[in-house]
């Protein structure tokens, strides 16, 4: 094994319960066996620090969730790690190789393959061709060898075999010869994920794998992600769905305003006050669908000094909006 820390043999990654962090879990903590190490990575857009990560390690052979509110810099951080965007400063390594300034296709060749938040499939290629495109080491992708089928036909058969196995796993085998443009949004997510596995990556980076996927498909996608770990891959994914994060993540990294504000095992991170404030909101457990829930929240907010509820400035937040809303009076005059 490359990590040299006596990691279990393939197949045992699921039952490996040794602690992921060395010592106390917290923002920037050291991991027992990191696959990605990022130091002082920053990216500014105008005056805004979109990403300002001081220190972060992604554990090997684990599923790591990257969560945070919209605009926290998760996707930008993804782009920086994979070479799709250049940081203003910072350095990071993958599997011990420094990656600063390395172009995105070389990052992918090293075994760090990403998917996109807005799914990118080649619509006017068939599903099978999409899959084949993901494979590495096809000599026929070189111009002069491309002319002679005997030079690449053998590898093409191997690739097709591999693609068929993956398509079957992802239940896309009936769609093999369809154009990818004819797939539904969820199927495209599946195809993109399957395609990223064609090159047998070491680290799979999934940007919102569940976005737009129908709930019936969610369960099978979750199983696929878990299986990646069983097969010895590491996974880093961005997700908003807390249920999913709780269900499959071994480790959770929370970002807010470009910074890593918390990290740790999911159960502990969800209890962290910084996370609750930054991401879930202080009143995440209120059910706004019920009248009692709203009233309870109002009562609670009225006691809160920082809240406007219960004061004269509450505006349209409070329940008595018709009395305070100027437009309601105007419309009353019109009627009169």
């Amino acid at each position: 094994m490359s990590d040299g820390t006596g990691a279990p043999e393939t197949g045992d990654y699921m039952t490996d319960t040794r602690p992921i962090a060395q010592g106390e879990a917290g923002p920037g903590c050291r991991k027992r066996d990191p696959i990605v190490v990022a130091k002082q990575v920053t990216r500014r857009f105008g005056g805004i620090n979109a990403v300002d990560v001081d220190y972060l390690e992604i554990p090997r052979h684990k599923i790591t969730a990257l969560i945070g509110p919209n605009g926290a810099g998760k996707t930008t951080f993804f782009n920086l790690l994979t070479g799709f965007d250049q940081p203003n400063s910072g350095e990071w390594t993958f599997d011990g190789h420094p990656l600063s300034g390395v172009s995105s296709y070389k990052v992918a060749r090293m075994g760090m393959i990403r998917t996109f938040q807005l799914t990118k499939v080649m619509g006017k290629l068939t599903v099978l061709e999409n899959m084949r495109l993901g494979a590495a080491d096809q000599p026929g992708e070189r111009l002069f060898k491309a002319l002679f089928r005997n030079l690449w036909g053998g590898r093409e058969r191997e690739i097709t075999e591999q693609a068929n196995v993956l398509l079957q796993k992802f239940k896309l085998d009936t769609k093999r010869d369809d154009y990818a443009a004819s797939l539904s949004g969820g199927q495209r997510k599946l195809l993109e994920m399957a395609r990223s596995l064609m090159a047998r990556p070491k680290l799979v980076m999934l940007d919102e794998p569940m976005a737009g996927v129908n709930p019936a498909l969610t369960q099978s996608l979750l199983e696929h992600i878990k299986n990646l770990k069983a097969e010895g891959m590491s996974v880093l994914f961005v997700e908003h769905d807390m249920q999913m994060v709780r269900y499959i993540a071994d480790w959770v990294v929370v970002m807010a305003e470009g910074k890593v504000v918390a990290e740790g095992p999911p159960a502990e991170v969800m209890k962290d006050q910084a996370v609750i404030d930054a991401y879930l909101g202080a009143h995440h457990d209120v059910d706004l669908g019920e009248t009692e829930g709203v009233q309870a929240l109002e009562a609670e907010l009225a006691r809160d000094d920082e809240s406007v509820v219960g004061t004269e400035d509450e505006g349209i937040i409070g329940q008595h909006l018709t009395e305070q809303d100027g437009r309601a009076e105007d419309s009353g005059k019109d009627e009169g």
Binding site: K124, A136, L143
Partner: protein
């Protein structure tokens, strides 16, 4: 009106060397646009590279024909690098802007009076094709094909031109069925996705630009051979857009589409010319002159292209699911 004459003239266009040149130029555009998604609006510039490369190396340096062809190809490769290096990392539109401007720059440079000794300025260059006709394997005489009679020189230039077109078609077919072609098509669909799969997108785009550009240079040479002359006025932007017309008529992401498109383009032009001129001379049409009729043909081509884009955007041979001009 002599319909038989008009018809045989139109059919003769199918195998004319100019049609072959258009087919080859459009095939280059198919590699660029149909398969890779590159918007090259400067194919006339690549053609000028081939034509002037051959003419100047033959006339100024007394080089043999094959060396002249080679010089034309090398020039087109350099032209492709010059255009591609700054623009292929950017969005597709930038290549379009740069190519259309660069092709015009080429045309203005060869028209410059100070270069008259080398480029012949606006008058162009003549008499550099002896090397090509010296290779003619056909014995002197006239040859009767089905609907046309050709001199041995005309026959040779047609055979050579279409053999070259066939060779290039086979080459494109071999390339596009290969994994290399698959990467190009992937780039056409979404270059970031291809990049995320570990392919060097920039290098593939450059290879595509060079190959299509070399086809352009060969097309430029084919275009000059029957005329034995090269004139800058022939390499204006309208040549590029005629090639695009041929490409879109036939089908952008097909091997034979550009060839069929070029044939259709020239047959239609020749037929309409014959019919309109015949009708005017015979007095059936009185409200336009023959000069105006010449312009009217291109208006009709434009209308035909519009109708095609509306009702069959994938071209005659194209697969609507795979490639439609949207």
């Amino acid at each position: 009106m002599d319909f038989l004459n008009i018809l045989s003239g139109a059919l003769g266009e199918i195998i004319s060397p100019t049609t072959a040149a258009y087919a080859l130029g459009a095939l280059g555009l198919a590699v660029h646009f149909g398969y890779t998604g590159l918007l090259n609006f400067g194919q006339a510039g690549f053609m000028a590279m081939g034509a002037y490369g051959l003419a100047i190396s033959t006339l100024t340096f007394n080089a043999p024909f094959w060396v002249g062809v080679l010089v034309g190809l090398v020039l087109s490769v350099l032209f492709a690098f010059l255009l591609g290096i700054p623009t292929l990392r950017l969005r597709a539109d930038y290549l379009a802007i740069v190519t259309i401007a660069a092709a015009e720059i080429i045309r203005y440079v060869v028209t410059t009076n100070r270069l008259t000794d080398i480029t012949g300025s606006a008058g162009g260059l003549n008499g550099f094709t002896n090397g090509f006709y010296a290779l003619n394997p056909f014995p002197e005489g006239r040859y009767n094909l089905l609907f046309v009679t050709l001199s041995y020189r005309d026959l040779w230039v047609r055979v050579a031109a279409w053999a070259l077109v066939a060779l290039c078609c086979v080459l494109v077919w071999l390339l596009m069925r290969s994994p290399w072609g698959r990467v190009l098509k992937g780039i056409r669909e979404d270059e970031n996705a291809v990049r995320s799969l570990g392919k060097n997108v920039y290098s593939y785009k450059m290879q595509s630009l060079v190959i299509g550009g070399m086809f352009g240079a060969l097309a430029g040479i084919l275009f000059t051979l029957p005329r034995s002359s090269v004139q800058p006025a022939n390499y204006g932007t309208e040549l590029t857009f005629f090639l695009w017309t041929c490409l879109l008529l036939g089908g952008a992401a097909t091997v034979l589409g550009p060839v069929l498109g070029a044939m259709m383009f020239w047959v239609v032009l020749s037929l309409t010319q014959g019919l309109l001129f015949g009708a005017i001379e015979a007095g059936y049409i009185t409200f336009i002159t023959t000069t105006q009729a010449g312009q009217l043909r291109f208006i009709m081509v434009g209308v035909a292209l519009m109708l095609l884009m509306i009702f069959r955007p994938q071209g005659v041979l194209g697969n609507k699911k795979e490639m439609a001009f949207t």
